[in-house]
Subunit: 186 residues, 2 copies
Amino acid sequence: MKVLQVRFAGGDIGPWRIDRLEAVLGDPLPPAPRLAVLDGPEGSPPIGATWILHGVTSSERYVNRAERAALTARQQGLGRAEATCAPLIPIRKSEAWWELTQDERREIFEERSRHIATGLEYLPAVARRLHHSHDLGQPFDFLTWFEFAPDHARVFEELVARLRRTAEWTYVEREVDIRLVRAPGG
Amino acid sequence: MKVLQVRFAGGDIGPWRIDRLEAVLGDPLPPAPRLAVLDGPEGSPPIGATWILHGVTSSERYVNRAERAALTARQQGLGRAEATCAPLIPIRKSEAWWELTQDERREIFEERSRHIATGLEYLPAVARRLHHSHDLGQPFDFLTWFEFAPDHARVFEELVARLRRTAEWTYVEREVDIRLVRAPGG
């Protein structure tokens, strides 16, 4: 549960090739050929970065003990050799979301939208790490990084399509969908 | 619920005179004669600042709808002319706290420790603003700013004494107690 600072830098350098970068809702991000993921505290940004998104891994806001046990039992870490596909999906939620109280957000997030339960169905194929940006004065509230093998590309599309149809997603006011492939050359 | 960035700068300058600055638990902060509170995004720190603590007002993590209604009905804002006393209490909680799930933290915070209900008893006399620092890579997790008139100094001591005896406080591993008075000269 240590806070890990992470920067995602779109530009000319990085081990990930950006195959697609599109705005699902609201303003897009500028196009870039490569992406670098920088773990750790501040430092010089990579040369040629056209945008940098900051986030922190942090304490879980909605998961309860039983859900965490179910997630922990099934999930696998990032960096599996076969997991060469990585979507990065930055989203910002509306003021209306942040005006809700904790119990109301949990109700929408899980009891109505089944966000945790749905993600669980795609474990261990789709690994995931959530980065919080809301408190950092960033243009997005959350940066979610996913990793999976090319064989699981279809099931990942199903996962994002299901989440985008939920009650929770009606509070999303900006969403960018960035699809990356680990590939030499960056 | 907008995120407001706030910096508390201890040094030679500021409208608040530091009358007391003591470590309750863990490392202290260096002594300083004055404190300045800077709202808004980054900028040059005040000349002569010996320490600066960053925090952000953010979404509420534990309050439910009924509790928020009770708080909103009774609380008053910062900056009342008569509220010339202002404690600033930075705390850091242990890894064990952050390893708990949201429902477990809420259980300790309110069902066992009555943090919200206790604070409510001291409204409107003691105004309060919570700043989150955990996700900012700061030395403290929370910076709580209180304001009250000198007449309420005794009831404030009772409030902090009650909170420090709770189950929640067993997770506090660093706490500094800074007592300020609004006074000319800074």
